[in-house]
Amino acid sequence: MEMLVGLVAGIIFGTILTLAGVIRYEKQVAAVLFKDMTIIKFMFSAAIVGAIGINLLNQLGLISLHLKPLALGAIVFGGILFGLGWALTGYCPGTAVAAIAEGRIHAIFAVIGMIIGSALFINLYPYVKPLIDLGNFGKLTIYQVANTSPFLIILLLTIAAGVLFYVFEKNRL
């Protein structure tokens, strides 16, 4: 059952990603060059809608959260490396897989690279570990730190996204 839900969810996700055009190299690079904000519109809309439903379900005690720890050292250094690679290759892991399916042959090299990069991490883990322990504050949500309701945070994020979307549309990005 677990496998079936995963497969079906993946097929629907892949379908939406492809229809929205967000799996393209040129969309991802154009977003960070501030020329076409399609992927930002997509990502923020998804995050806000998902946040409303998931926090409702969580407040009702129907689901459990799977938070990743706030490990500042790992997030900052890993994030910088990720950003450099993302700019070069033009794909993140999910979109690279979808791009191959859309016939983008060069995305195969992106995926091979991601596997090599993962292998390097696994083998270098003992040396990288101190970085992961650096500034590790454990699992934290924004609303815990701000000591407020998750729905106030969602409201603020929605307003921020709304302002961004307005600027994007006004400038035809």
Partner: protein, 171 residues
């Protein structure tokens, strides 16, 4: 005929609804809440390949990776299948060796594109493991849970990509 396109806001809303459905259904059906993610699958593939080459590999991280086929692997396989069927149906499928923007800056040399895609992929793979997630795990699932670490990760991913893309593609 022009390919069918979906407005990105509507696409995003649909993905948000899909995530809610997945979180609820997995909790009800299998008793474990599942969130979107993709990059751990790359690490599992790497570990599986390595295990066939150096069978006695063992360290704290390797041992934590469960090499059995799991939810996320099926999810990633689904992304491939969904993208393949959709791109064939909506005519966006195209065999492409060098993408636009890259071509404008570096020309149509496939070898150069392959090398840079591979090199970038290595940074992405390593960085995603170190940051413990990618734009699906942090950007979608983490943000939906209002995780502070994920919010910071997304800010760093984009800031770094903006900086490097403007260096790489500046004309």
């Amino acid at each position: 005929m022009k390919e069918t396109r979906l407005n990105p806001y509507i696409g995003g809303v649909l993905v948000g609804l899909l995530a809610i459905a997945v979180v609820y259904l997995t909790t009800m059906l299998i008793g474990d809440t599942k969130f979107f993610g993709t990059s751990t699958t790359f690490a599992k593939i790497a570990a599986a390949i390595q295990k066939t080459i150096t069978p006695n590999i063992s360290n704290e991280y390797f041992n934590k990776l469960n090499l059995k086929v799991d939810w996320q692997m099926m999810f990633v396989l689904g992304i491939f299948i969904g993208a393949l069927i959709t791109s064939l149906l909506n005519r966006s499928f195209k065999l492409e060796l060098v993408p636009p923007i890259f071509m404008d800056k570096f020309g149509s040399n496939f070898t150069l594109r392959a090398i840079l895609a591979l090199l970038g992929g290595i940074f992405v793979g390593f960085g995603a493991r170190l940051a413990d997630g990618c734009p699906s795990g942090h950007g979608l699932s983490g943000m939906m849970q209002l995780s502070l670490g994920s919010l910071i990760a997304v800010i760093v991913f984009f800031s770094s990509a903006i900086l490097f893309a403007n260096i790489i593609y500046r004309r």
